[in-house]
């Protein structure tokens, strides 16, 4: 009877840490028709990880 929780970003925390707007606009990517935003990585986190 097991449960494993995958590592995921804290959405409540991102209320205060997020919102910089530097991430890619969805339609600048591959699709131009039907994507959602979740395909877009966070630019701020990418910068922090460097």
């Amino acid at each position: 009877m097991k449960i494993k929780t995958l590592v995921s970003r804290d959405m409540v925390d991102s209320l205060t840490t997020g919102g910089c707007g530097e991430c890619q606009t969805s339609c600048q990517s591959a699709c131009k028709t039907s994507c959602g935003v979740v395909n877009q990585p966070c630019e701020k986190k990418a910068e922090e990880d460097k």
Binding site: I3, L6, G18, C27, C31, G36
Partner: protein, 458 residues
């Protein structure tokens, strides 16, 4: 709100508000469902009845784990975002432009959403001055945003290649003057690709989107030139060389599937077997009465294709020959913040399309529809009411989204699809919703499988 499903042997529960993902066994998934109301005694009893072989200690431990996840806000999490950001609308800065450098095309793809590149209007190439003004407009309205995106689109952008190159050079000057970083993207059908284009793109384009529908007979069904000749044979070798030269730089093979190739997994695998590893396949955008349109009756087969695609991707990953599929890309740990997930694509506000004449539209899909014209580079935004409507459009604007588990993954979907299907940008294109949710289930399952694979590898 939770969403539980089983796919490829993985039992997965997604917590809608926190976007947390839990991978369980069958019993664990049932425990999550039965304990949602917090009635410990009832949950214990029901689990003992359903799983008499499971020791009480295991049931207790599982419910304890669920209690901890509930306390951490990762299960049954309340949706606090609408209250925290009640008037969250798209920002007033512009950060991305889709430059229609050509309203003309050297192919005559009959399914083209853009009317073979002319968007129901006159043929035209964007003069350099209009493009230059567009980049100035973008910088002027970008506020403090550093990353700016410009997509060279059409029609076929390579038919106006000299202007594209001059605009990239101008953009680089603006970067230095205004401390900005342009990310240029080029979308092309490949017909005019040559060494010079490839080399320039590899120096300057952050991403290139290469239109290929898959197998030759599928690609050449629609993607023909003005004499009706298929383009597959001409473009595939060029795409292969282009991608080889790009090395690790970004690209996507971007295919369209229609009612005529509901077995589109074969087209995706064909592209993978051609050596392409960054793949995207989109459902056709067309009117519902077009014979190529994806219908409700087609969806079971479409879903099955996505599920099998995810399985094949896992197999190939294990075999050491992986490929990426755009719609299955998801980084649970580094994905967008809740602000982005509420706002969505930003069309009409932070993302605008510019026609060869300098007219502004909310995105490329609205170009040519006069009721959606926002203004022009010369006049600025003249239809403020329309822009405000797009600005207010977010995930909370769609009634159907409020009860959807995938809302913070999808963000309300494509505004153009919604408007064309329902007459309103706050509507939803139902077939698009169903497809998105299936793709998201597959994407999350892939993450669960890769997590397990990596763990076993350690």
């Amino acid at each position: 709100m939770i969403h539980s499903y089983t796919l490829n042997g993985y039992h997965i529960t997604v917590d809608a508000a926190s976007c947390a993902v839990h991978v369980t066994d069958r019993q664990g998934m049932d425990a999550i469902a039965l304990y949602e109301d917090g009635d410990r005694e009832k949950a214990t009893r029901l689990l003992q009845e359903k799983y008499p072989q499971v020791p009480l200690a295991d049931i207790t431990a599982c419910l304890n784990d669920i209690d901890a996840l509930r306390a951490q806000g990762k299960l049954y999490a309340p949706d606090v975002y609408q209250a925290a950001l009640p008037r969250r609308t798209a920002p007033t800065v512009v950060k991305a432009l889709c430059l229609h450098v050509a309203h003309v095309c050297n192919l005559a793809c009959s399914y083209c959403f853009a009317g073979q590149g002319k968007y129901a209007g006159a043929q035209a190439l964007m003069p350099y001055e209009v493009g230059r003004d567009a980049l100035d407009f973008l910088v002027r309205h970008s506020g403090t945003r550093r990353n700016l995106e410009v997509d060279f689109f059409g029609g076929e952008p390579l038919m106006n290649w000299d202007v594209v190159k001059r605009l990239v050079a101008y953009g680089r000057e603006l970067e230095k003057q205004h401390n900005k970083m342009f990310r240029f993207t080029l979308t092309t059908n490949g017909v005019l690709l040559d060494d010079e284009v490839m080399d320039f793109c590899n120096r300057e384009m952050h991403n290139v989107v290469l239109s290929l529908d898959g197998r030759k007979e599928v690609h050449d069904r629609f993607r023909v030139d003005h004499q009706g000749r298929g383009s597959y044979e001409a473009i595939v070798p060029k795409f292969q060389e282009f991608v080889r030269r790009r090395g690790h730089q970004g690209y996507y093979m971007r295919g369209t599937f229609t009612h005529y190739n509901l077995d589109f997994l074969n087209d995706i695998l064909h592209m993978a077997d051609l050596g392409f590893t960054q793949l995207s396949m989109e459902p056709v955008v067309t009117s519902p009465d077009n014979p190529s349109a994806i219908t409700q009756d087609d969806l079971p087969q479409v879903f099955e294709q996505y599920e099998r695609l995810a399985q094949v991707m896992l197999e190939r990953h294990r075999e050491g020959r992986p490929f990426d599929f755009y719609h299955f890309l998801i980084d649970l740990g580094h994905g967008p913040c809740i602000h982005k997930r509420i706002i969505g694509c930003g069309s009409g506000t932070e993302y605008l399309a510019v026609t060869p004449w300098g007219d502004l539209y909310p995105c490329h899909q609205f170009v040519g529809e006069q009721q959606y014209r926002l203004g022009s580079l010369l006049e600025g935004i003249t239809n403020a009411t329309l822009q405000q409507e797009f600005g207010r459009c977010n995930v909370f604007s769609h009634t159907e989204c409020l009860q959807c588990w995938a809302k913070y993954f999808c963000s309300g979907g494509c505004a153009a699809n919604a408007a064309h299907a329902t007459g309103s940008v706050t509507g939803v294109y139902d077939i698009g919703c169903q497809i998105f949710k299936k793709r998201m289930e597959c994407a999350i399952m892939l993450q669960a499988a890769l997590d397990e694979y990596n763990e076993n590898a350690r």
